[in-house]
């Protein structure tokens, strides 16, 4: 479970770095579009989903890890 918690933290860090690269915010570029949305918007929405996924994984793993340590109230 500790590995899963580390995975969630590492995932959040990597995602947070990628967001500020041209992979997510290419300058003055709005193609390719997806479902009519410009590139930065739909990739930004995917990034948000990424955070939500890591939040859910993190909550699950963190609660188990801390429970094992007897730390949760």
């Amino acid at each position: 479970m500790k590995k899963l918690w580390s995975f969630a933290r590492l995932g959040v860090i990597i995602l947070s770095i990628l967001i500020f690269t041209p992979l997510v915010i290419p300058k003055n570029e709005f193609r390719p579009e997806f479902m009519g949305m410009p590139y930065t918007l739909w990739v930004g929405i995917l990034a948000y989903f990424g955070y939500v996924a890591f939040i859910m994984i993190g909550i699950y793993a963190h609660s188990k890890v801390k429970k094992e340590e007897g730390g949760n109230d």
Partner: protein, 467 residues
């Protein structure tokens, strides 16, 4: 529209009265008054956190930000909020643990006790005071602008500010944090409902999402990418905003206090997950409202865009509900912040419960008056002023974060470096120091310096425990 406003407004005021009277009966001790008995469940937690976060800023500021600066606003705010929601439970776990150990009354008092230094408490309180007052004031300013535009002949602008401050004081003084949390719940539901429907209507107006963005492209294709038409969303701006927003649960007391008052860690986990989902719905709606405005009201001033997009282009009942929703949003966010300042003030006081409670209530009243005065003179740039507030309090991160996750008293150098950073940033707000030095934003430079000194301090002193 006006009759729907009075109809929904009357229901809202009735709910506030019920909330205050319920909370008033239960509140006895000062901890019950200030910390709602630390017994908030997940659903109330989600709604109160969302209500503290989403305000006039989200109703007026964010749609306008999308309209003026384009889709880069998604990276500026929702994406930054994504990691902030992660921080809720990671930092929340550590904060709750420390709060149990130290007996939490407010962040300022807790830092004073952890550092064993009264200046730690004064520093945290000063940071909160300096940067929350303008943030609260912009909420009230936004609402006054909006109401004066809708009802131009009814009341002068300052009267709307007076009304909201009076209502806010009345029910928070009576019911304390519990009344605020109940009213937040009402506001959270209202906000989610109103913005979702309006956002949907904005897409329907163009037929579908693709057509909406086709028309945005015809107006100005720079709205569809970064850095946007005005070049605001540079990588440095986005990174600095990301860090400031990520740190909100640590550095702004209205958020940290909401984490502490949750019934259990299990409920805190649920709150973090729940807020991330609620926020997504709200942000998507604001993005589409903003894009709708970019096409239909590209050259209009903010107030004209907002009143048309949120009110006059919507069915009457929805417009009435939107006005009440905005009023509720401003009320709950302002209240959350003023009350948080009150909590911080209270945590620094000594004496018996009764005298502390009386002095805290007097302080709340004075804070509200200061906010009202400030709201009359402050600028109209809601989002950028909110960002200044986030960035300003984030300068306290080394003190609060290390204080919370440390196993022993952190070094005083963290107090000194945070205080310097706080005042340097404040001077830059007043343009006494340049905002950019050698092509680097001052706030980013300060974050780097704070980070390096913090690392050196905790390594040299062996301050941390496993978190």
């Amino acid at each position: 529209m006006t009759k729907w406003f009075w109809f929904f407004g009357a229901i809202f005021i009735l709910l506030l009265i019920i909330a205050s009277s319920r909370a008033f009966k239960k509140n006895r001790s000062i901890d019950d008054y200030m910390l709602a008995g630390s017994n908030i469940g997940a659903i109330l937690g989600v709604l109160t956190y969302a209500a503290a976060l989403f305000s006039a800023f989200i109703f007026i500021g964010v749609p306008d930000f999308f309209r003026v600066h384009g889709v880069g606003a998604w990276i500026f705010l929702p994406v930054s909020d994504g990691i902030m929601f992660f921080m809720i439970f990671w930092f929340g776990y550590n904060l709750r643990k420390k709060a149990r150990e130290t007996g939490y009354k407010g962040m300022a008092g807790m830092m004073r006790d952890i550092f064993g230094n009264k200046w730690a408490g004064y520093l945290v309180f000063t940071g909160a005071f300096l940067f929350l007052i303008p943030y609260v004031a912009i909420q009230i300013r936004g609402m006054s602008m909006f109401f004066t535009a809708i009802f131009p002949d009814m009341l002068p602008s300052w009267s709307w500010a007076l009304i909201i401050v009076a209502i806010m004081l009345a029910y928070s003084e009576l019911g304390g944090l519990k009344a605020i949390v109940f009213s937040d719940a009402v506001q959270g539901v209202l906000l989610l409902t109103v913005l979702s429907i309006i956002g949907y209507n904005c897409i329907v107006h163009f037929g579908n999402v693709k057509e909406l963005f086709n028309q945005v492209q015809q107006v100005d294709d720079r709205l569809l990418s970064t850095p946007g038409p005005e070049g605001l969303f540079t990588t440095q701006f986005l990174v600095a905003s990301f860090l400031a927003i990520m740190l909100l649960p640590i550095t702004q007391p209205q958020f940290s206090s909401r984490i502490v008052v949750m019934k259990s860690m299990k409920e805190t986990y649920k709150m973090a997950g729940g807020v991330s989902i609620v926020a997504f719905i709200v942000f998507v709606a604001t993005a589409f409202i903003g894009m709708y405005g970019a096409v239909r009201y590209s050259d209009s001033p903010t107030v004209e865009f907002v009143q048309n997009a949120l009110l006059f282009d919507q069915p009457d009942f929805l417009a009435g509900l939107a006005i009440v929703g905005l009023f509720a949003a401003v009320l709950s966010t302002s209240n959350a912040q003023i009350f948080a300042l009150g909590s911080e003030f209270r945590s620094l006081l000594k004496g018996d419960d009764k005298s502390v409670l009386i002095r805290t209530k007097i302080a709340l009243f004075i804070f509200a008056l200061i906010v009202m005065a400030f709201s009359v003179i402050i600028s109209d740039e809601l989002v950028l002023l909110a960002r200044v507030s986030f960035a300003g309090t984030s300068m306290l991160t080394p003190v609060i974060l290390i204080g919370v996750i440390s196993k022993k008293a952190p070094g005083k150098e963290l107090l000194i470096v945070s205080a310097i950073a706080l005042f340097v940033f404040l001077f830059s707000v007043f343009q006494l120091i340049p905002e950019n030095i050698m092509g680097i934003r001052l706030d980013i430079g300060l974050y780097v310096i704070l980070f390096v000194i913090t690392i050196i301090s905790i390594v040299a002193r062996g301050t941390l425990r496993n978190s």
